[in-house]
Symmetry: C2
Amino acid sequence: MHPQIKEPTTRNAKNTFKAIEDAAYEVFYKNGYHGTTIADITNRAGVAAGTFYLYFPSKLVLYQHILMSLSHDIRKEIAAKVSRKETRYEKEREGIKTFINYALERPEMYNIIWESLYIDRELFRDYYADFAKRYKRGLEEAAAKGEIRSLDSEVVSYVLMGITNFIGLKVVMDLGEGNENVDAIVNVVMEILDKGLFKKHRDSSGK
Amino acid sequence: MHPQIKEPTTRNAKNTFKAIEDAAYEVFYKNGYHGTTIADITNRAGVAAGTFYLYFPSKLVLYQHILMSLSHDIRKEIAAKVSRKETRYEKEREGIKTFINYALERPEMYNIIWESLYIDRELFRDYYADFAKRYKRGLEEAAAKGEIRSLDSEVVSYVLMGITNFIGLKVVMDLGEGNENVDAIVNVVMEILDKGLFKKHRDSSGK
DNA sequence: TGCTAACATGAATATATATTCAGTTTGTGA
DNA sequence: TCACAAACTGAATATATATTCATGTTAGCA
């Protein structure tokens, strides 16, 4: 928990705190950080403007609080699903699928994480650096077992994050246009990861 | 040119206009859209605040103007380089390499394009939709020639954009930490695209 | 040299909104 | 039932900054 946040102690105060958090999720998503005012948040939460400052010292700290809770949540969800699979191949498929479904069901979270690049660059950087680190670990284990080819695992992790994030972006942007067949999309991605994009060209030593 | 922008006519006015544009590039990059004020721009350009409004009706229109010019520029650069290559394989390698080098040399452009998701969602969406459309065309030609495998070209184009953008992101975030060996990074990416990530697992019909 | 239109100025205006604070209500333990 | 702290209120404050406008300056031409 952010050190500057004052935790509520009584039952009523806990409800108030939660109402502010919930309102913030909704409004930050809908209108972005700069597009939402403290008044938007407190109105939606049904409390007075001053009440906000009983718990949070500033709008920025609230944003950071929400961002951290989001990123924790999305990582937990992916880790839980992935750990149930045996092979790296199956883990990868599951991770991509989970991420896309997450983006589809709660586009707000996804959106808020990207916006952080322009609100709190450190937090954004840390989020992806940490994500990459976990990814690397998994990839290196898989390489040690001979499940995947030996390639720079840092670069590979950004390749995989890039694919997942952009496919998620596409799905979110297309929301409501009926392109939500996640399995079909994941199949295409796995085809590429499994066999490559290119048909064999010239000699296999390449150019 | 944006219809609300008033073009300068005289030699001096052209210089003033250019100075405002140049200042805006720098400052938008450095501090983001919300972090820069009209005063920041006009101070850096060496003109009075009011002068800004001789040419641009608002800060938003200036931002849109700059974003469009950036996205035009980056696409032009990639298209020019790619068109010199023969095979899809070589074109892909060149496109990725050009994009990363672009991000490395002018991180501001790259940065501004992503921020647009939170400033002008339509413009952002259009930018990527258009990028994807061009990509699709190239991929479909390559598929017709048998250079690449037949897969949903829309999904493939987002996979490739995702890879490129995230590798670009990594390179920009790491700037100054000596990880700027673009060729080595591109090689890893091409390895994956060429031969896949996974070693052959079980039977090739897959799961 | 004087005229005119384009160009430029920067102080003043208008507005938005994050944050404060003096006062009020509420719940709880004695 | 009282006392007190915690919780809450919302009008007032403070600040930032996009935009306007009355006024001045310049360049080129008759």
